[in-house]
Structure formats: structure tokens, C-alpha cells
């Protein structure tokens, strides 16, 4: 297989002007939805091609066509000028096409080199694979220990493993699907450096699928913008700017305030962060605050398997109407903190007090009953039940609302659900639509609607905008702000610093399961936070 790819790479290597991949008139329907509508795309050697679009714009589908996960209904594919059909990922691999997936496809229980070797045919030679992993690591600056267990790695390191896995097959076309959604800013930076190198030195073609504008602007040579399954614009990156790209992508003007967070723009001017209209409202909410904090976390410790301290002596007070941001590089206890407040893990020490009353953490539904609502980090993990209907998902926490004597009334269920669907503008075919038929943004709205419907005193929002498109991020950000104004204490756990800086009144930084710093919004800048996150100024 490796022979075949090198041959191919050799055969087509005649400079950047020759297209490596041509997708012509690709059309793909899922039921009544047209995911791709007559899409053309041409990729060149030594170029990074950005594909920009909201969730559901069809960019992932297009890439799946390219790597053989989805068969198009119409259209043709040419690789190195030769027409071909790509029936499955194996065929794509033989043509030298590889993809780094948005969601990791790694096996947690295996080591790094084992994961890299996974899917190879023939006998497994551990020494050989290890050396190869090490060599690739060195060559591209993707440092990772070949013998580390993947489950113990941070998101950034896991992605490195994915990339190494990809590069090991020596593909000449590399597809990255939303690669930075789980990375810290520095990690993203590093990733793009690697990409540059891969492209410049080795004449590979790279596709970068993303909905982050700055990323596409910084890292690509050419940009294709997709909306609702069609290509709406295509231009060289030098001729593009944030505003025009945003317009093309969303198809409408986006409010300036959310734009910053939505597009993950790194350059936030100090002046912009002055309290604005929303701040005054919040001031008035603050005056009504009682002395009792809505949520008090006292000396909390949670041990993981093997006794590692996932949370170590965490103390945190959260007042009504206040938004406290929890910043930190992912994998430093944020997930456990979210789980703790979702009644999913018991405590090994300390206590959690909601409105003056201790909560027995870890017993089913205790936190929800105490008035803690949660938008979980991974909604598929504990936020929704994909195989149930929208209505059922909306009533998960409190089915008794729609029940009499333990029997749920169909009409009440539908009524309540429809009302929530309207209020939160959830895009679905109706209350009885299965949840998996909704887009990520709409699934997230279902979670938000349900959690807010419980009229909580505390709202925990963990990575609430991850993987959402611009419109959905804007909506979520506004909702969180309004919720706080309504007197709810909001704990915002996020690895997107811009998001935290935009929303939070107060910021705590977590590192290795501990709180390593606390800043008011006025004190906090990207630099100070970054230093704390990196553990430089504890």
C-alpha cells in the first residue's frame, strides 16, 4: 500500500499548477436534505485550501465523499487527472488521501504506537512502529511519547497522535476536519506551523475544514465558502477579510459583539472589553444578591481510578447573577468539575452547598433537584439521549411536569415541547423527531431549553459553544448573559479564552485539578490568563 502511494505521489508531482484533486458537480442528499448541491472543488499540490461554512453547510459531507465515507448521488472525482470512484476509506487511502477527524478515532486503552499501528495489515512490529512514530514526531515537531496510553493524553496530544497516524501512511492529500475545536491557542498555532511545513517542504495538498474565520485567514492559501450545501464564494486568502468572509458564510450580518467570540478572533482590543449595555443591567441584578452564595464549593477533592486527584482542594463561591469563568487548558479537571455538578461523581473530600444546603453529590439527580442546571461539555455523554425524541429529551429531568399519577399525557408532552421548541427556536421537524436528526446547534438548544426550563439557581455551562456555528454561538452567548441578568449564578467552564473574557465577571484558572489563580475581569488579559494556564504564575 505504501508503495502504491509513493508511486502516485511521484507520478503527479509536477508543480502546484496541476490539480491533484478535482471534485466535479458533487451532489449528495440525505432524505429530503441536500447536503451538497453540485459542488466543485479543486485542490493543488503545496497549497492549503480552506473550506469555511456553518454547521450543516455541507463541508463535512463533501470531505466524506473525498475519503470514501459517503458515496455521492451525482458528480465525479478526478485524482491526478484520472477519473476514479472512491467506494470506501481504504480506496481513499490507496489513492493517498487521509483525514484527521474532528472527533478522535483513537482507542483510549491502547498506547500511542498501538493506535498508530491500528488498521495496518500484516504482522505488528512494535519496534518498527515506535521508531517510525518517533521519527515523524521529530520531523514535524509533533512531540509525543510513543508508549503513553492514549486515554491519559490531553486533547492536544491526542490530536497529534491522529496526525501522526495520518502521516505514517504518507498521504499526499491531507484533510483536517475542524482541527482546532479541542485545542488551546498555542496548540492551534503549533498545528498550523506543522501544516505549513507539510505543505511547503513536501508538496502535499491540505484541506482545512473550519468555521473559525481567523484560522482560515491565517493558515490557508485559498478559501471556499459553503452555505446550505452550495459554494457561495471562492477566493485567494490574500483577497479575503474577516467581515466579507463572515457575511458570505452566514448570509447575513452578524452582530458585532458576538462576532468576536464566534469567530475566535484573537485580537480583542482592550477598549472593547469595557462593560457595555449589558453590564448596567447586571449591576442592578448584583444589588439584589443575597449574602448566601448560590453555589459554594468547599475543599472539594475527587480521585480518579488509580488515586490520581482529578480535583484537588477546589474552593469556589458563586453568587446569584454572577458569571464566573473557569479557564484552563483542557484536561485539567474541568470535565470532572462538570461531572461533579451533574451528580455523576461522588466526592472524596469537601462539600458542595447550593443555596445553603449541602448536596449529596453523586446520588442520581441530586444536583438537578438542588437547582443546578448543566450544559455538559459533551452533550452526547450526559446531555441528551440521541435515540429518544425531542419532546422526551426536553422532559428528561422533570417528566412529572407532563404526567398525572405517573402516566404521561401525550397532549401535554407535545404541548410543553412545542412551546419550548418555539421559544428556543429549535430547528426540528416536530416534538416527535428523534434527537439524532437534529444538527449539533439544535441539539445544544434542546439542552439549553430543558436546563433553563427547570428554573435553576445555578447554571453550569461547560464548553457551551464548542462545535457550534456562528449563529448558534451568538444565540448561546446572549442566552447565557440573559440568564445571569435574570439572577442565576452561571459557571462558565471553557477553554476558549475569548468566550470567558467576553462573558465572565470573575475568572478562575484551573491547572492540574487545582485553582491556580483568580482574577477579576478588569485584571484579566489573554496574557495573564495564558501565563496562569501554563502554570507560570501560580
Amino acid at each position: 500500500m505504501i508503495d502504491a502511494t509513493t508511486q502516485l505521489a511521484g507520478a503527479g508531482g509536477s508543480g502546484p499548477s496541476v490539480p491533484v484533486v478535482e471534485l466535479i458537480g458533487i451532489t449528495k442528499r440525505f432524505g429530503g436534505i441536500v447536503a451538497c448541491d453540485q459542488v466543485d472543488l479543486t485542490l493543488y499540490r503545496s497549497r492549503i485550501h480552506g473550506i469555511l461554512g456553518e454547521n450543516g453547510a455541507g463541508k463535512s459531507t463533501l470531505m466524506k465523499v473525498l475519503i470514501g465515507l459517503v458515496l455521492p448521488d451525482a458528480g465525479s472525482i478526478r485524482i491526478d487527472g484520472r477519473p476514479c470512484t472512491i467506494h470506501d476509506p481504504l480506496a481513499a487511502a490507496e489513492l493517498g488521501i487521509a483525514m484527521v477527524h474532528q472527533h478522535f478515532s483513537l482507542v483510549d486503552q491502547l498506547t500511542v504506537w498501538e493506535n498508530v499501528a491500528l488498521g495496518e495489515a500484516g504482522r505488528l512490529k512494535s519496534a518498527g512502529v515506535r521508531d517510525r512514530v518517533a521519527a515523524i514526531s521529530r520531523q514535524y515537531g509533533l512531540e509525543v511519547d510513543p508508549d503513553a496510553q492514549v486515554g491519559s493524553l490531553t486533547a492536544g496530544l491526542r490530536q497529534r497522535v491522529e496526525i501522526i497516524k495520518c502521516l505514517r501512511r504518507d498521504p499526499h492529500i491531507l484533510v483536517f476536519d475542524e482541527p482546532t475545536s479541542v485545542l488551546t491557542p498555542e496548540e492551534s498555532e503549533q498545528l498550523f506551523d506543522t501544516l505549513r511545513e507539510v505543505v511547503a517542504a513536501e508538496e502535499r495538498a491540505v484541506v482545512l475544514v473550519s468555521h473559525k474565520l481567523d484560522e482560515v485567514l491565517h493558515a490557508t492559501d485559498e478559501i471556499t465558502i459553503m452555505r446550505q450545501g452550495r459554494i457561495v464564494d471562492r477566493r485567494p486568502t490574500q483577497e479575503a477579510d474577516v467581515r466579507s468572509l463572515a457575511r458570505a458564510m452566514v448570509g447575513r450580518e452578524v452582530s458585532l459583539r458576538s462576532e468576536r467570540a464566534a469567530f475566535g478572533l484573537a485580537e480583542i482590543e482592550e477598549a472593547d472589553r469595557e462593560p457595555d449595555g449589558g453590564g448596567e443591567d447586571r449591576q442592578s441584578a448584583e444589588t439584589t444578591k443575597s449574602d448566601e452564595p448560590a453555589l459554594r464549593i468547599e475543599g472539594v477533592m475527587v480521585k480518579g481510578r488509580g488515586g490520581a486527584r482529578l480535583l484537588d482542594d477546589i474552593s469556589l463561591d458563586l453568587g446569584a447573577g454572577e458569571i464566573v469563568g473557569v479557564a484552563g487548558v483542557e484536561g485539567n479537571g474541568q470535565r470532572t468539575l462538570g461531572d461533579l455538578l451533574s451528580s455523576l461523581v461522588p466526592l472524596d473530600a469537601g462539600r458542595v452547598v447550593v443555596n445553603g444546603e449541602g448536596v449529596s453529590t453523586g446520588s442520581p439527580g441530586a444536583m438537578a433537584k438542588a437547582g443546578v442546571a448543566v450544559i455538559p461539555e459533551d452533550r452526547h455523554d450526559s446531555g441528551v439521549v440521541l435515540d429518544m425524541t425531542v419532546a422526551e429529551n426536553l422532559l428528561m429531568v422533570d417528566p412529572h411536569r407532563a404526567a398525572r399519577h405517573g402516566v404521561m399525557d401525550k397532549r401535554t408532552v407535545t404541548g410543553i415541547a412545542q412551546q419550548m421548541i418555539d421559544e428556543f427556536d429549535i430547528g426540528c421537524s416536530g416534538p416527535d423527531a428523534p434527537l439524532w436528526s437534529l444538527s449539533g446547534g439544535n441539539q445544544q438548544r434542546v439542552v439549553l431549553a430543558r436546563e433553563l426550563a427547570a428554573e435553576p439557581d445555578v447554571l453550569v455551562a461547560a464548553q457551551p459553544t464548542r462545535g457550534l456555528d456562528v449563529g448558534a454561538i451568538e444565540y448561546m452567548t446572549d442566552r447565557l448573559r440573559q440568564t445571569a441578568i435574570g439572577g442565576v449564578a452561571v459557571l462558565l467552564i471553557s477553554s476558549e479564552l475569548e468566550e470567558i473574557l467576553e462573558l465572565a465577571d470573575r475568572i478562575v484558572v484551573m491547572s492540574r485539578g487545582r485553582v491556580v489563580g483568580e482574577l477579576s475581569r478588569a485584571e484579566a488579559t489573554l496574557e495573564t490568563l495564558g501565563l496562569l494556564m501554563g502554570g507560570s504564575a501560580a
Partner: protein, 352 residues
């Protein structure tokens, strides 16, 4: 459609096998149809078999909805029957009332047996797939032991004659009535089973309890967060599953009919009804109402097979035919399951 195709393939294969081994194919088909529904009194017989199958399947459906894989129905059924017969003779009492007592203790016996697996699961984390299965063998041995001792299950000498290992026979008025309907006789438990199927379907679809049980089965972490205790709900679901199997055992014991020990508990009494009930649930894809149809189909296969043996075709060959038909009934649900999952997955990844 899928079923028709799959059964047709199985029939075609069977015909080839029967003809190739020197048998006659058409009489085999006729015997199957005659034995299951066509011959006088046969569909009543089939219903009599379908009732316990349906009960077992309903229990399986409930456990499965909670995300638990109970495959020990054969043992739960046997224990249910044993407990039922023991208490029936211990308590005595007038006929109809004793039948109710018998059925209740049957359900209780099955529930307790399944709860052993529940206890291991939620106290010690032993996978219920293993514990329920292994408890089948324990049950067989335990009931065998009980049948050796007169103070437990063994009948006294006068009534057992020269047989070993049989329980006392239920008195005529302690049996479940088998009224005659259009020349077919079957125990009234068939109606009870049908009513229970409706009840299970209703409870799962409409009640808060059923809702939360399904939530637990689909996503335990979301359920935990929403206040569904996996221990309480899971253990209850397992116990109910066992109760249904035990009830089936008691109903077989007191219902009489085709090969069910003639109102006595004997070794091997469960006669694969537990296993087959599991297949019924599988064919119904763990839904209560389709299980009604599936139970009748499997029961028909069983009663029909009795007639096939008299066609002169070698019994091993007819076993193969039966096996092929069972397989034909189980392939479509598996195909549908895989297709649905692939679709759901494609949709989920498409829309992330």
C-alpha cells in the same frame, strides 16, 4: 418483506437439504402447517405454547429497555415453576384461589432468581450477561436436588409410582382452565399474556417509570444526571424480567398441554421455553406488541415440528430445517438493527 424473503430462502434451502438426503419436501411443509394451525385443535395447542413464550419475551423486553441483557430466563422459569409448585402444595386452599397463589409464587420465584444476578450486578459489578446465564445451570441443579427429597418437591410414593424425580401432580381444580374455543383448547393464561403484553407496551411508552427506564437503557449517564438511579431501576427491571419468566413457568405447570410435564414438575421441565422466549424478544426487536406475533410464530414452529417428525424424514434433518427457519426469523431483525444504527450514526456524524 424482509421476513418473507428470509423465510423463503430458508424454505428453499431446507427443501434442497431434505430432497438431497432422500426425503420428500412437500409433506414436511404440510406437516409444519398442519401441526401448527391447520389440523383440528392445533392452533389451540400452539396458543398454549405461545403464552409462556410471550411472557418470557415480555420480561426480556423490560430488562432490555433498562440496558440490561438478561439471558437466564430458562433458569428463572424453572425456579418459578418449582417455587410455585412447592407453595401451591404447602398452602393448599380452594381451587381457583390456589391457582392465583401458584402464579404469584411463580413470579416471585423467578424475580428472586433474577435478583441474585441483579445483586451481583449492582453490588459487585458482575456483568448480568454472565450471571444470569450461569444461574441457569445452578437453577437446573437446585431444582433437580429439590426433586430428590420428599420434604421439598418430590411426590410421595403412592402418586409417583415407579418414577423418580417428579413432583406431585396438581389437583384438577388447581389447574388453569382450558375452555374450548371452536374446537381448540388452550389455557386462559393466553389471554392473560396478551393483556400483559398490552400493559407492558403501555407502561413503557406512556408512564414516567417506563420513560425513565428507557432513558437509563439509552444513556445511563444522562439518566443518572436526571435522577434515574441505575441501581434501583436496573435491579427492578431485572426482577420484573425474572418475574415474567417465573410466571411463565408457573403458567406452564398449571396450564397443561403439549409436553409441559402434565401438571407435574419434572427434570427438564422448562423445555427450552426460556431460551426460545429470548429469541421471541429478539425477533420482536425488544418491543412488547410485536412479541405477540413473534411468540405465536415460534410456538407454531414448535408445535409444527411435532408433526414433521412423523413424516419419515430423519429427525436430524428436521432439526436442521427448524434451525434454518429460526435463523430466518432472526436475520431480518438483525439486519434492521444494523441498518438503523448505520443510519443513525451517519445522521449523527453528518450533523455534528
Amino acid at each position: 418483506m424482509l421476513y418473507a424473503l428470509s423465510v423463503a430462502v430458508a424454505l428453499a434451502l431446507s427443501s434442497v437439504i431434505v430432497e438431497a438426503t432422500g426425503g420428500d419436501w412437500w409433506p414436511v411443509v404440510e406437516a409444519l402447517v398442519d401441526g401448527s394451525i391447520k389440523a383440528p385443535g392445533r392452533w389451540g395447542e400452539t396458543l398454549g405454547v405461545a403464552a409462556p413464550l410471550l411472557l418470557v419475551a415480555l420480561g426480556t423486553v423490560i430488562s432490555a429497555k433498562a440496558g440490561l441483557i438478561n439471558i437466564g430466563q430458562e433458569g428463572q422459569l424453572l425456579v418459578g415453576a418449582a417455587v410455585a409448585v412447592y407453595f401451591s402444595f404447602l398452602i393448599g386452599g380452594p381451587g381457583p384461589l390456589n391457582v392465583v397463589v401458584l402464579l404469584l409464587f411463580g413470579a416471585l420465584g423467578g424475580a428472586v432468581w433474577a435478583s441474585l444476578a441483579g445483586l451481583l450486578r449492582f453490588w459487585r459489578g458482575v456483568p448480568e450477561v454472565l450471571s444470569t446465564l450461569l444461574l441457569v445451570f445452578v437453577a437446573t441443579q437446585a431444582v433437580g436436588y429439590g426433586l430428590k427429597w420428599q420434604w421439598l418437591l418430590l411426590a410421595d410414593e403412592a402418586s409417583r409410582g415407579n418414577r423418580n424425580l417428579v413432583s406431585e401432580q396438581l389437583a384438577t381444580d388447581n389447574r388453569i382452565p382450558r375452555p374450548d374455543v371452536f374446537g381448540n383448547e388452550f389455557p386462559v393464561t393466553a389471554y392473560v399474556a396478551l393483556a400483559l403484553a398490552l400493559a407492558v407496551a403501555y407502561v413503557l411508552a406512556r408512564t414516567v417509570w417506563g420513560f425513565r427506564l428507557r432513558m437509563l437503557g439509552h444513556n445511563p449517564r444522562a439518566a443518572q444526571r436526571s435522577g434515574v438511579s441505575s441501581t434501583t431501576y436496573g435491579a427492578t427491571a431485572l426482577a420484573i424480567g425474572g418475574a415474567f419468566a417465573g410466571l411463565a413457568g408457573a403458567a406452564m405447570l398449571a396450564g397443561g398441554g403439549f409436553s409441559f410435564g402434565n401438571y407435574r414438575l419434572v427434570p427438564g421441565f422448562s423445555d427450552n421455553i426460556g431460551w426460545t422466549g429470548l429469541l421471541v424478544a429478539l425477533m420482536a426487536r425488544e418491543r412488547a406488541l410485536p412479541a405477540v406475533v413473534a411468540a405465536f410464530v415460534f410456538a407454531g414452529l414448535r408445535t409444527g415440528a411435532g408433526f414433521v417428525n412423523s413424516t419419515g424424514v430423519e429427525s436430524r434433518i428436521t432439526d436442521v430445517v427448524q434451525g434454518l427457519l429460526v435463523l430466518a426469523l432472526l436475520v431480518p431483525p438483525a439486519v434492521i438493527f444494523l441498518r438503523d444504527r448505520r443510519r443513525a450514526r451517519a445522521a449523527a456524524t453528518e450533523r455534528v
